[in-house]
Symmetry: C2
Subunit: 296 residues, 2 copies
Protein backbone atom coordinates (compact mmCIF):
# COMPACT_ATOMS: atom_id res chain seq x y z
CA UNK A 1 0.00 0.00 0.00
CA UNK A 2 1.21 3.49 -0.84
CA UNK A 3 0.21 6.68 0.95
CA UNK A 4 0.14 9.79 -1.19
CA UNK A 5 -0.45 13.42 -0.27
CA UNK A 6 -0.26 15.30 -3.58
CA UNK A 7 -2.54 15.38 -6.60
CA UNK A 8 0.41 15.00 -8.94
CA UNK A 9 1.59 11.86 -7.19
CA UNK A 10 -1.80 10.14 -7.04
CA UNK A 11 -2.29 10.82 -10.75
CA UNK A 12 1.15 9.42 -11.49
CA UNK A 13 0.48 6.39 -9.29
CA UNK A 14 -2.82 5.64 -11.03
CA UNK A 15 -1.48 6.22 -14.52
CA UNK A 16 1.32 3.81 -13.84
CA UNK A 17 -0.31 1.58 -11.22
CA UNK A 18 0.80 -2.05 -11.02
CA UNK A 19 -2.66 -3.08 -12.15
CA UNK A 20 -2.51 -0.79 -15.18
CA UNK A 21 1.07 -1.73 -15.99
CA UNK A 22 0.58 -5.45 -15.82
CA UNK A 23 -1.74 -5.50 -18.81
CA UNK A 24 0.03 -6.69 -21.90
CA UNK A 25 -3.13 -7.54 -23.77
CA UNK A 26 -4.57 -4.67 -25.74
CA UNK A 27 -7.99 -4.94 -24.10
CA UNK A 28 -6.89 -5.43 -20.52
CA UNK A 29 -8.71 -2.66 -18.68
CA UNK A 30 -8.14 -2.78 -14.91
CA UNK A 31 -10.85 -1.07 -12.88
CA UNK A 32 -10.23 1.43 -10.10
CA UNK A 33 -12.53 1.37 -7.06
CA UNK A 34 -12.60 4.54 -4.97
CA UNK A 35 -13.77 5.05 -1.38
CA UNK A 36 -13.77 8.75 -0.40
CA UNK A 37 -13.70 9.20 3.39
CA UNK A 38 -13.00 11.77 6.07
CA UNK A 39 -10.95 9.23 7.99
CA UNK A 40 -11.71 7.97 11.53
CA UNK A 41 -12.49 4.75 9.73
CA UNK A 42 -14.94 2.24 11.19
CA UNK A 43 -16.58 -0.96 10.00
CA UNK A 44 -18.97 1.03 7.82
CA UNK A 45 -15.98 2.24 5.82
CA UNK A 46 -14.62 -1.30 6.05
CA UNK A 47 -17.69 -2.63 4.26
CA UNK A 48 -17.20 -0.05 1.47
CA UNK A 49 -13.53 -0.95 1.11
CA UNK A 50 -14.21 -4.70 1.08
CA UNK A 51 -16.79 -4.25 -1.64
CA UNK A 52 -14.40 -2.06 -3.65
CA UNK A 53 -11.67 -4.69 -3.17
CA UNK A 54 -13.96 -7.46 -4.44
CA UNK A 55 -15.07 -5.55 -7.54
CA UNK A 56 -11.91 -3.80 -8.77
CA UNK A 57 -8.29 -4.47 -9.60
CA UNK A 58 -7.07 -1.33 -7.83
CA UNK A 59 -8.54 0.27 -4.69
CA UNK A 60 -8.00 3.88 -3.64
CA UNK A 61 -9.20 5.30 -0.31
CA UNK A 62 -9.08 9.06 0.21
CA UNK A 63 -8.81 10.48 3.72
CA UNK A 64 -9.59 14.19 3.78
CA UNK A 65 -11.47 16.07 6.48
CA UNK A 66 -12.90 18.64 4.08
CA UNK A 67 -13.00 21.98 5.91
CA UNK A 68 -15.49 23.64 3.52
CA UNK A 69 -18.33 21.29 4.43
CA UNK A 70 -18.28 22.14 8.12
CA UNK A 71 -20.63 24.92 9.10
CA UNK A 72 -19.14 25.38 12.55
CA UNK A 73 -15.42 25.72 13.19
CA UNK A 74 -15.87 23.79 16.43
CA UNK A 75 -17.39 20.81 14.64
CA UNK A 76 -14.43 20.71 12.23
CA UNK A 77 -11.98 20.98 15.10
CA UNK A 78 -13.64 18.18 17.05
CA UNK A 79 -13.96 15.85 14.08
CA UNK A 80 -11.94 12.74 15.04
CA UNK A 81 -8.58 12.22 13.33
CA UNK A 82 -6.94 8.80 13.62
CA UNK A 83 -4.58 8.67 10.65
CA UNK A 84 -2.20 5.96 11.90
CA UNK A 85 -5.02 3.58 12.78
CA UNK A 86 -6.78 4.42 9.51
CA UNK A 87 -3.71 3.56 7.44
CA UNK A 88 -3.21 0.26 9.29
CA UNK A 89 -6.89 -0.56 8.73
CA UNK A 90 -6.64 0.22 4.99
CA UNK A 91 -3.54 -1.93 4.75
CA UNK A 92 -5.26 -4.83 6.48
CA UNK A 93 -8.12 -4.62 3.95
CA UNK A 94 -5.79 -4.76 0.95
CA UNK A 95 -6.11 -1.14 -0.16
CA UNK A 96 -3.62 -0.25 -2.91
CA UNK A 97 -3.32 3.50 -2.34
CA UNK A 98 -4.43 6.00 0.29
CA UNK A 99 -4.77 9.59 -0.91
CA UNK A 100 -4.45 11.90 2.11
CA UNK A 101 -3.99 15.47 0.91
CA UNK A 102 -3.66 18.60 3.02
CA UNK A 103 -6.28 21.35 2.85
CA UNK A 104 -3.72 23.50 1.04
CA UNK A 105 -3.22 20.79 -1.59
CA UNK A 106 -6.97 20.62 -2.20
CA UNK A 107 -7.57 24.38 -1.97
CA UNK A 108 -4.36 26.11 -3.11
CA UNK A 109 -6.13 29.30 -4.27
CA UNK A 110 -9.36 31.01 -3.49
CA UNK A 111 -12.03 28.52 -4.51
CA UNK A 112 -14.54 30.35 -6.70
CA UNK A 113 -16.20 27.34 -8.27
CA UNK A 114 -19.06 25.52 -6.60
CA UNK A 115 -21.18 22.57 -7.62
CA UNK A 116 -24.75 22.75 -6.46
CA UNK A 117 -27.51 20.15 -6.70
CA UNK A 118 -30.86 21.91 -6.43
CA UNK A 119 -33.88 20.41 -4.67
CA UNK A 120 -32.14 17.29 -3.31
CA UNK A 121 -29.78 19.50 -1.25
CA UNK A 122 -32.67 21.25 0.48
CA UNK A 123 -34.60 19.99 3.48
CA UNK A 124 -33.30 17.57 6.13
CA UNK A 125 -29.58 18.19 6.83
CA UNK A 126 -29.53 20.83 4.09
CA UNK A 127 -31.72 23.11 6.18
CA UNK A 128 -29.54 22.83 9.28
CA UNK A 129 -26.10 22.86 7.63
CA UNK A 130 -26.17 25.80 5.20
CA UNK A 131 -23.82 25.25 2.25
CA UNK A 132 -22.96 21.73 3.44
CA UNK A 133 -24.11 19.82 0.37
CA UNK A 134 -22.70 22.43 -2.00
CA UNK A 135 -19.32 21.88 -0.32
CA UNK A 136 -19.77 18.10 -0.45
CA UNK A 137 -20.74 18.09 -4.14
CA UNK A 138 -17.81 20.38 -4.92
CA UNK A 139 -15.17 18.34 -3.09
CA UNK A 140 -16.50 15.07 -4.51
CA UNK A 141 -16.34 16.55 -8.03
CA UNK A 142 -12.72 17.50 -7.30
CA UNK A 143 -11.92 14.02 -5.99
CA UNK A 144 -13.60 12.37 -8.98
CA UNK A 145 -11.34 14.44 -11.25
CA UNK A 146 -8.25 13.60 -9.21
CA UNK A 147 -8.88 9.85 -8.87
CA UNK A 148 -9.96 8.47 -12.28
CA UNK A 149 -12.12 5.79 -10.71
CA UNK A 150 -14.50 3.42 -12.43
CA UNK A 151 -16.62 2.94 -9.31
CA UNK A 152 -17.06 5.00 -6.14
CA UNK A 153 -18.55 3.62 -2.93
CA UNK A 154 -20.79 5.51 -0.49
CA UNK A 155 -22.75 4.45 2.57
CA UNK A 156 -26.52 4.78 2.80
CA UNK A 157 -26.22 6.20 6.32
CA UNK A 158 -25.66 9.57 4.66
CA UNK A 159 -28.77 9.18 2.53
CA UNK A 160 -29.12 12.79 1.44
CA UNK A 161 -25.40 13.01 0.63
CA UNK A 162 -25.69 9.84 -1.44
CA UNK A 163 -28.70 11.24 -3.34
CA UNK A 164 -26.82 14.52 -3.98
CA UNK A 165 -23.71 12.72 -5.25
CA UNK A 166 -25.70 10.33 -7.45
CA UNK A 167 -27.55 13.20 -9.11
CA UNK A 168 -24.35 15.26 -9.45
CA UNK A 169 -22.51 12.36 -11.09
CA UNK A 170 -25.41 11.71 -13.47
CA UNK A 171 -26.08 15.37 -14.36
CA UNK A 172 -22.40 16.14 -14.99
CA UNK A 173 -21.74 12.83 -16.81
CA UNK A 174 -18.94 11.69 -14.53
CA UNK A 175 -17.84 8.34 -15.99
CA UNK A 176 -18.05 6.76 -12.55
CA UNK A 177 -20.53 4.23 -11.22
CA UNK A 178 -21.85 5.26 -7.81
CA UNK A 179 -22.23 2.15 -5.64
CA UNK A 180 -24.34 2.55 -2.46
CA UNK A 181 -23.90 0.23 0.51
CA UNK A 182 -26.32 -0.52 3.33
CA UNK A 183 -25.66 1.15 6.68
CA UNK A 184 -23.51 -0.95 9.01
CA UNK A 185 -24.78 -0.96 12.60
CA UNK A 186 -23.46 -1.77 16.06
CA UNK A 187 -25.09 -4.83 17.70
CA UNK A 188 -27.53 -2.49 19.50
CA UNK A 189 -28.60 -0.86 16.20
CA UNK A 190 -26.62 2.40 16.37
CA UNK A 191 -25.41 3.31 12.88
CA UNK A 192 -21.62 3.26 12.61
CA UNK A 193 -20.28 6.80 12.49
CA UNK A 194 -16.96 8.49 13.10
CA UNK A 195 -18.81 10.78 15.47
CA UNK A 196 -19.87 7.89 17.73
CA UNK A 197 -16.44 7.88 19.38
CA UNK A 198 -17.16 11.38 20.69
CA UNK A 199 -20.19 10.14 22.66
CA UNK A 200 -19.85 10.03 26.47
CA UNK A 201 -20.32 6.47 27.83
CA UNK A 202 -23.78 7.24 29.23
CA UNK A 203 -24.84 8.92 25.98
CA UNK A 204 -23.56 5.92 24.03
CA UNK A 205 -26.10 3.79 25.94
CA UNK A 206 -28.91 6.17 24.95
CA UNK A 207 -27.87 6.59 21.32
CA UNK A 208 -29.69 3.53 19.87
CA UNK A 209 -32.99 5.33 20.56
CA UNK A 210 -32.43 7.09 17.22
CA UNK A 211 -32.57 3.83 15.29
CA UNK A 212 -35.45 2.59 17.46
CA UNK A 213 -37.41 5.72 16.55
CA UNK A 214 -36.85 5.09 12.83
CA UNK A 215 -37.91 1.48 13.29
CA UNK A 216 -41.09 2.60 15.06
CA UNK A 217 -41.99 4.79 12.08
CA UNK A 218 -41.15 2.00 9.64
CA UNK A 219 -43.32 -0.41 11.59
CA UNK A 220 -46.18 2.06 11.53
CA UNK A 221 -45.86 2.55 7.77
CA UNK A 222 -45.78 -1.17 7.13
CA UNK A 223 -48.91 -1.44 9.26
CA UNK A 224 -50.69 1.08 7.07
CA UNK A 225 -50.32 4.21 9.21
CA UNK A 226 -50.51 7.65 7.71
CA UNK A 227 -47.37 9.73 7.29
CA UNK A 228 -48.28 11.85 10.31
CA UNK A 229 -49.00 8.85 12.50
CA UNK A 230 -45.71 7.20 11.52
CA UNK A 231 -43.85 10.39 12.35
CA UNK A 232 -45.60 10.61 15.71
CA UNK A 233 -44.62 7.02 16.48
CA UNK A 234 -40.96 7.91 15.93
CA UNK A 235 -41.14 11.14 17.90
CA UNK A 236 -42.77 9.25 20.74
CA UNK A 237 -39.69 7.01 21.02
CA UNK A 238 -37.33 9.99 20.92
CA UNK A 239 -39.35 11.78 23.61
CA UNK A 240 -38.47 8.99 26.02
CA UNK A 241 -34.81 10.14 25.92
CA UNK A 242 -34.79 13.71 27.25
CA UNK A 243 -31.01 14.01 26.74
CA UNK A 244 -31.58 13.60 23.00
CA UNK A 245 -32.65 16.74 21.14
CA UNK A 246 -34.32 16.13 17.79
CA UNK A 247 -33.04 18.40 15.03
CA UNK A 248 -35.40 16.95 12.45
CA UNK A 249 -37.32 13.80 11.79
CA UNK A 250 -38.89 13.61 8.35
CA UNK A 251 -40.40 11.06 6.01
CA UNK A 252 -39.39 11.90 2.47
CA UNK A 253 -39.37 10.39 -1.01
CA UNK A 254 -36.46 7.91 -1.02
CA UNK A 255 -35.21 9.10 -4.42
CA UNK A 256 -35.73 12.86 -4.42
CA UNK A 257 -35.38 13.29 -0.63
CA UNK A 258 -38.28 15.74 -0.89
CA UNK A 259 -41.26 16.05 1.49
CA UNK A 260 -44.27 13.87 0.89
CA UNK A 261 -47.92 14.64 1.50
CA UNK A 262 -48.79 10.98 1.77
CA UNK A 263 -47.03 7.65 1.55
CA UNK A 264 -47.19 6.49 -2.03
CA UNK A 265 -43.81 5.04 -2.97
CA UNK A 266 -40.54 4.06 -1.34
CA UNK A 267 -39.93 6.46 1.51
CA UNK A 268 -36.93 7.38 3.58
CA UNK A 269 -37.39 8.07 7.28
CA UNK A 270 -34.51 10.38 8.14
CA UNK A 271 -33.53 12.04 11.38
CA UNK A 272 -30.80 14.09 13.02
CA UNK A 273 -30.44 14.36 16.77
CA UNK A 274 -28.04 15.97 19.21
CA UNK A 275 -26.74 14.00 22.16
CA UNK A 276 -24.24 15.59 24.54
CA UNK A 277 -22.88 17.96 21.90
CA UNK A 278 -22.61 15.25 19.24
CA UNK A 279 -24.80 15.29 16.14
CA UNK A 280 -26.01 11.90 14.95
CA UNK A 281 -27.95 11.09 11.78
CA UNK A 282 -29.62 7.93 10.61
CA UNK A 283 -32.27 6.83 8.15
CA UNK A 284 -34.32 3.85 7.07
CA UNK A 285 -35.90 3.19 3.72
CA UNK A 286 -39.30 1.56 3.64
CA UNK A 287 -41.13 0.17 0.67
CA UNK A 288 -44.76 1.11 1.11
CA UNK A 289 -47.07 -1.88 1.15
CA UNK A 290 -50.05 -1.48 -1.09
CA UNK A 291 -53.10 -0.57 0.93
CA UNK A 292 -55.50 -1.69 -1.77
CA UNK A 293 -58.09 -3.97 -0.26
CA UNK A 294 -57.57 -2.72 3.28
CA UNK A 295 -60.89 -2.28 5.11
CA UNK A 296 -60.76 1.48 5.60
CA UNK B 1 -13.64 11.21 -39.56
CA UNK B 2 -16.52 9.80 -37.59
CA UNK B 3 -19.62 11.71 -36.51
CA UNK B 4 -21.17 10.59 -33.25
CA UNK B 5 -24.37 11.67 -31.54
CA UNK B 6 -24.47 9.66 -28.30
CA UNK B 7 -22.38 9.80 -25.15
CA UNK B 8 -21.99 6.04 -25.11
CA UNK B 9 -20.62 6.01 -28.66
CA UNK B 10 -18.13 8.85 -28.18
CA UNK B 11 -16.80 7.12 -25.04
CA UNK B 12 -16.50 3.87 -26.94
CA UNK B 13 -14.79 5.60 -29.83
CA UNK B 14 -12.26 7.30 -27.56
CA UNK B 15 -11.61 4.20 -25.48
CA UNK B 16 -10.89 2.26 -28.64
CA UNK B 17 -9.73 5.06 -30.91
CA UNK B 18 -7.23 4.22 -33.65
CA UNK B 19 -4.71 6.39 -31.84
CA UNK B 20 -5.24 4.54 -28.57
CA UNK B 21 -5.34 1.13 -30.24
CA UNK B 22 -2.19 1.56 -32.25
CA UNK B 23 -0.01 1.76 -29.18
CA UNK B 24 1.77 -1.50 -28.62
CA UNK B 25 4.43 -0.01 -26.41
CA UNK B 26 3.49 0.02 -22.76
CA UNK B 27 4.07 3.73 -22.35
CA UNK B 28 2.49 4.94 -25.56
CA UNK B 29 0.04 7.55 -24.39
CA UNK B 30 -1.79 9.26 -27.27
CA UNK B 31 -3.18 12.69 -26.42
CA UNK B 32 -6.71 13.84 -27.16
CA UNK B 33 -7.27 17.46 -28.19
CA UNK B 34 -10.80 18.78 -27.79
CA UNK B 35 -12.48 21.80 -29.40
CA UNK B 36 -15.97 22.43 -27.95
CA UNK B 37 -18.11 24.55 -30.31
CA UNK B 38 -21.68 25.57 -30.98
CA UNK B 39 -21.16 24.94 -34.70
CA UNK B 40 -21.50 27.56 -37.46
CA UNK B 41 -17.76 27.10 -37.71
CA UNK B 42 -15.54 29.90 -39.01
CA UNK B 43 -11.82 30.52 -39.25
CA UNK B 44 -11.63 31.26 -35.54
CA UNK B 45 -12.72 27.68 -34.87
CA UNK B 46 -10.39 26.63 -37.68
CA UNK B 47 -7.43 28.09 -35.79
CA UNK B 48 -8.44 26.14 -32.66
CA UNK B 49 -8.79 22.91 -34.63
CA UNK B 50 -5.46 23.39 -36.44
CA UNK B 51 -3.70 23.95 -33.13
CA UNK B 52 -5.38 20.87 -31.62
CA UNK B 53 -4.38 18.86 -34.71
CA UNK B 54 -0.76 19.97 -34.36
CA UNK B 55 -0.52 19.14 -30.65
CA UNK B 56 -2.45 15.87 -30.28
CA UNK B 57 -2.76 12.40 -31.77
CA UNK B 58 -6.56 12.48 -31.74
CA UNK B 59 -8.81 15.53 -32.28
CA UNK B 60 -12.44 15.75 -31.20
CA UNK B 61 -14.73 18.68 -32.08
CA UNK B 62 -18.09 18.94 -30.35
CA UNK B 63 -20.95 20.75 -32.06
CA UNK B 64 -23.76 21.49 -29.63
CA UNK B 65 -25.91 24.61 -29.51
CA UNK B 66 -26.44 24.46 -25.76
CA UNK B 67 -29.98 25.65 -25.04
CA UNK B 68 -29.42 26.35 -21.33
CA UNK B 69 -26.94 29.16 -21.99
CA UNK B 70 -29.35 31.25 -24.03
CA UNK B 71 -31.30 33.78 -22.02
CA UNK B 72 -33.76 34.54 -24.78
CA UNK B 73 -35.59 31.86 -26.75
CA UNK B 74 -35.33 34.05 -29.84
CA UNK B 75 -31.54 34.21 -29.63
CA UNK B 76 -31.36 30.40 -29.41
CA UNK B 77 -33.72 30.05 -32.33
CA UNK B 78 -31.76 32.48 -34.50
CA UNK B 79 -28.37 31.01 -33.68
CA UNK B 80 -26.94 29.84 -37.02
CA UNK B 81 -26.88 26.10 -37.71
CA UNK B 82 -24.77 24.85 -40.60
CA UNK B 83 -24.09 21.21 -39.76
CA UNK B 84 -23.23 19.92 -43.25
CA UNK B 85 -20.73 22.70 -43.89
CA UNK B 86 -19.32 22.28 -40.37
CA UNK B 87 -18.72 18.56 -40.89
CA UNK B 88 -17.01 19.15 -44.24
CA UNK B 89 -14.83 21.84 -42.64
CA UNK B 90 -13.84 19.51 -39.78
CA UNK B 91 -13.02 16.79 -42.25
CA UNK B 92 -10.85 19.15 -44.29
CA UNK B 93 -8.90 20.04 -41.14
CA UNK B 94 -8.19 16.40 -40.25
CA UNK B 95 -10.56 16.10 -37.29
CA UNK B 96 -10.87 12.50 -36.06
CA UNK B 97 -14.30 12.66 -34.44
CA UNK B 98 -17.19 15.12 -34.29
CA UNK B 99 -19.48 14.76 -31.29
CA UNK B 100 -22.86 16.28 -32.16
CA UNK B 101 -25.41 15.27 -29.53
CA UNK B 102 -29.06 16.27 -29.33
CA UNK B 103 -30.34 18.38 -26.43
CA UNK B 104 -32.16 15.28 -25.16
CA UNK B 105 -28.89 13.32 -25.14
CA UNK B 106 -27.19 16.05 -23.09
CA UNK B 107 -30.18 16.74 -20.82
CA UNK B 108 -32.15 13.48 -20.55
CA UNK B 109 -33.62 14.30 -17.13
CA UNK B 110 -34.33 17.43 -15.17
CA UNK B 111 -30.91 19.01 -14.68
CA UNK B 112 -30.56 19.85 -10.99
CA UNK B 113 -26.78 20.27 -10.87
CA UNK B 114 -25.10 23.53 -11.73
CA UNK B 115 -21.49 24.62 -11.73
CA UNK B 116 -20.97 28.23 -10.78
CA UNK B 117 -17.78 30.30 -10.83
CA UNK B 118 -18.21 33.24 -8.48
CA UNK B 119 -16.76 36.71 -9.13
CA UNK B 120 -15.44 35.98 -12.64
CA UNK B 121 -18.99 35.28 -13.86
CA UNK B 122 -20.24 38.66 -12.69
CA UNK B 123 -19.92 41.93 -14.56
CA UNK B 124 -19.61 42.34 -18.34
CA UNK B 125 -21.69 39.71 -20.19
CA UNK B 126 -22.61 38.15 -16.83
CA UNK B 127 -24.71 41.17 -15.96
CA UNK B 128 -26.63 41.16 -19.23
CA UNK B 129 -27.06 37.42 -19.68
CA UNK B 130 -28.35 36.12 -16.32
CA UNK B 131 -27.34 32.50 -15.70
CA UNK B 132 -25.30 32.40 -18.92
CA UNK B 133 -21.92 31.54 -17.38
CA UNK B 134 -23.45 29.08 -14.94
CA UNK B 135 -24.92 27.28 -17.96
CA UNK B 136 -21.60 27.50 -19.82
CA UNK B 137 -19.57 26.18 -16.87
CA UNK B 138 -22.09 23.36 -16.38
CA UNK B 139 -22.15 22.22 -20.01
CA UNK B 140 -18.36 22.44 -20.29
CA UNK B 141 -18.01 20.32 -17.12
CA UNK B 142 -20.34 17.79 -18.74
CA UNK B 143 -18.36 17.82 -22.01
CA UNK B 144 -15.07 17.45 -20.13
CA UNK B 145 -16.48 14.33 -18.46
CA UNK B 146 -17.79 12.95 -21.75
CA UNK B 147 -14.64 13.60 -23.82
CA UNK B 148 -11.58 12.52 -21.81
CA UNK B 149 -9.37 15.13 -23.40
CA UNK B 150 -5.82 16.05 -22.49
CA UNK B 151 -6.15 19.58 -23.89
CA UNK B 152 -9.15 21.78 -24.67
CA UNK B 153 -8.98 24.81 -26.95
CA UNK B 154 -10.88 28.08 -26.50
CA UNK B 155 -10.76 31.43 -28.29
CA UNK B 156 -9.85 34.64 -26.51
CA UNK B 157 -12.73 36.44 -28.23
CA UNK B 158 -14.94 35.09 -25.44
CA UNK B 159 -12.60 36.41 -22.77
CA UNK B 160 -14.95 36.14 -19.81
CA UNK B 161 -16.01 32.64 -20.85
CA UNK B 162 -12.36 31.64 -21.12
CA UNK B 163 -11.62 33.04 -17.64
CA UNK B 164 -14.65 31.19 -16.20
CA UNK B 165 -13.65 27.88 -17.81
CA UNK B 166 -10.00 28.21 -16.76
CA UNK B 167 -10.97 28.83 -13.14
CA UNK B 168 -13.57 26.06 -13.21
CA UNK B 169 -11.07 23.56 -14.60
CA UNK B 170 -8.45 24.57 -12.00
CA UNK B 171 -10.83 24.67 -9.02
CA UNK B 172 -12.42 21.30 -9.85
CA UNK B 173 -9.09 19.67 -10.80
CA UNK B 174 -10.14 18.65 -14.29
CA UNK B 175 -7.08 16.84 -15.72
CA UNK B 176 -7.31 18.96 -18.86
CA UNK B 177 -5.00 21.69 -20.05
CA UNK B 178 -6.96 24.76 -21.18
CA UNK B 179 -5.28 26.24 -24.26
CA UNK B 180 -6.34 29.80 -25.21
CA UNK B 181 -5.95 31.11 -28.77
CA UNK B 182 -5.82 34.68 -29.98
CA UNK B 183 -8.94 36.09 -31.61
CA UNK B 184 -9.01 35.62 -35.38
CA UNK B 185 -10.21 38.72 -37.24
CA UNK B 186 -11.58 39.61 -40.65
CA UNK B 187 -9.27 41.83 -42.76
CA UNK B 188 -11.18 44.91 -41.50
CA UNK B 189 -10.66 43.90 -37.87
CA UNK B 190 -14.06 42.46 -37.01
CA UNK B 191 -13.62 39.48 -34.70
CA UNK B 192 -14.75 36.22 -36.30
CA UNK B 193 -18.06 35.10 -34.82
CA UNK B 194 -20.86 32.76 -35.82
CA UNK B 195 -23.21 35.68 -35.27
CA UNK B 196 -21.51 37.79 -37.97
CA UNK B 197 -23.42 35.93 -40.67
CA UNK B 198 -26.65 37.33 -39.23
CA UNK B 199 -25.52 40.94 -39.88
CA UNK B 200 -27.28 42.81 -42.68
CA UNK B 201 -24.81 43.92 -45.41
CA UNK B 202 -24.91 47.57 -44.32
CA UNK B 203 -24.43 46.62 -40.65
CA UNK B 204 -21.52 44.40 -41.63
CA UNK B 205 -19.78 47.52 -42.96
CA UNK B 206 -20.32 49.32 -39.66
CA UNK B 207 -19.36 46.39 -37.41
CA UNK B 208 -15.56 47.00 -37.34
CA UNK B 209 -16.25 50.14 -35.26
CA UNK B 210 -16.36 47.80 -32.24
CA UNK B 211 -12.74 46.73 -32.72
CA UNK B 212 -11.73 50.32 -33.56
CA UNK B 213 -13.23 51.46 -30.27
CA UNK B 214 -11.20 48.87 -28.35
CA UNK B 215 -8.08 49.94 -30.24
CA UNK B 216 -8.73 53.56 -29.31
CA UNK B 217 -8.87 52.64 -25.63
CA UNK B 218 -5.74 50.48 -25.94
CA UNK B 219 -3.92 53.34 -27.65
CA UNK B 220 -4.95 55.71 -24.85
CA UNK B 221 -3.75 53.27 -22.17
CA UNK B 222 -0.42 52.77 -23.90
CA UNK B 223 -0.11 56.56 -24.04
CA UNK B 224 -0.57 56.79 -20.29
CA UNK B 225 -4.23 57.79 -20.13
CA UNK B 226 -6.33 57.14 -17.07
CA UNK B 227 -8.91 54.38 -17.08
CA UNK B 228 -11.72 56.91 -17.50
CA UNK B 229 -10.00 58.70 -20.37
CA UNK B 230 -9.32 55.41 -22.16
CA UNK B 231 -12.94 54.42 -21.77
CA UNK B 232 -14.09 57.78 -23.12
CA UNK B 233 -11.82 57.36 -26.14
CA UNK B 234 -13.53 54.06 -26.95
CA UNK B 235 -17.04 55.39 -26.37
CA UNK B 236 -16.22 58.33 -28.63
CA UNK B 237 -15.56 55.91 -31.52
CA UNK B 238 -18.75 53.98 -30.83
CA UNK B 239 -20.77 57.21 -30.71
CA UNK B 240 -19.88 57.82 -34.37
CA UNK B 241 -22.02 54.79 -35.32
CA UNK B 242 -25.57 55.60 -34.20
CA UNK B 243 -26.85 52.22 -35.44
CA UNK B 244 -24.63 50.53 -32.86
CA UNK B 245 -26.00 50.41 -29.32
CA UNK B 246 -23.40 49.84 -26.61
CA UNK B 247 -24.46 47.25 -24.03
CA UNK B 248 -21.28 47.68 -22.02
CA UNK B 249 -17.73 48.82 -22.47
CA UNK B 250 -15.46 48.11 -19.51
CA UNK B 251 -11.79 47.99 -18.68
CA UNK B 252 -11.19 45.12 -16.26
CA UNK B 253 -8.37 43.10 -14.77
CA UNK B 254 -7.32 40.66 -17.50
CA UNK B 255 -7.15 37.71 -15.10
CA UNK B 256 -10.08 38.19 -12.73
CA UNK B 257 -12.27 40.11 -15.22
CA UNK B 258 -13.19 42.36 -12.31
CA UNK B 259 -13.53 46.17 -12.37
CA UNK B 260 -10.43 48.26 -11.81
CA UNK B 261 -10.12 51.61 -10.09
CA UNK B 262 -6.93 52.42 -11.95
CA UNK B 263 -4.71 50.77 -14.51
CA UNK B 264 -2.06 48.82 -12.65
CA UNK B 265 -1.60 45.48 -14.40
CA UNK B 266 -2.62 43.73 -17.58
CA UNK B 267 -6.10 44.92 -18.45
CA UNK B 268 -8.82 43.67 -20.72
CA UNK B 269 -10.94 46.17 -22.63
CA UNK B 270 -14.19 44.35 -23.25
CA UNK B 271 -17.39 45.45 -24.94
CA UNK B 272 -20.72 44.18 -26.16
CA UNK B 273 -22.79 46.06 -28.73
CA UNK B 274 -26.05 45.51 -30.56
CA UNK B 275 -26.24 46.09 -34.29
CA UNK B 276 -29.48 45.43 -36.17
CA UNK B 277 -30.67 42.85 -33.65
CA UNK B 278 -27.32 41.06 -33.52
CA UNK B 279 -25.19 41.08 -30.38
CA UNK B 280 -21.44 41.34 -30.94
CA UNK B 281 -18.68 41.08 -28.34
CA UNK B 282 -14.97 41.72 -28.57
CA UNK B 283 -12.04 42.46 -26.30
CA UNK B 284 -8.40 43.48 -26.32
CA UNK B 285 -5.80 42.81 -23.69
CA UNK B 286 -3.27 45.53 -22.98
CA UNK B 287 -0.15 45.27 -20.89
CA UNK B 288 0.09 48.51 -18.97
CA UNK B 289 3.34 50.38 -19.62
CA UNK B 290 5.00 51.51 -16.46
CA UNK B 291 4.39 55.18 -15.91
CA UNK B 292 7.36 55.52 -13.62
CA UNK B 293 9.50 58.42 -14.77
CA UNK B 294 6.71 60.08 -16.69
CA UNK B 295 6.70 63.86 -16.15
CA UNK B 296 3.35 64.14 -14.39
Amino acid sequence: MITISTIQDIRRALGYSPARQSGDQRNYDPKIGFVPTMGALHEGHGALIRRARAENQYVVVSIFVNPTQFHQAEDLEKYPRTMDTDLAYCQSLGVDAVFAPTAREMYPDELLTSVEVAKISSGLCGDFRPGHFRAVATVVAKLFNIVPADRAYFGEKDAQQLAVIRKMAADLNFPIEIVPLETVREPDGLAMSSRNQRLAPTDRLLAPALYQALQAAAHAIRGGSSLDMAKQAALHVLARVPAMRTEYLEIVDAHTMQPLKSITSEVCIAAAVWLGGVRLIDNLRVQHMSRLGSPS
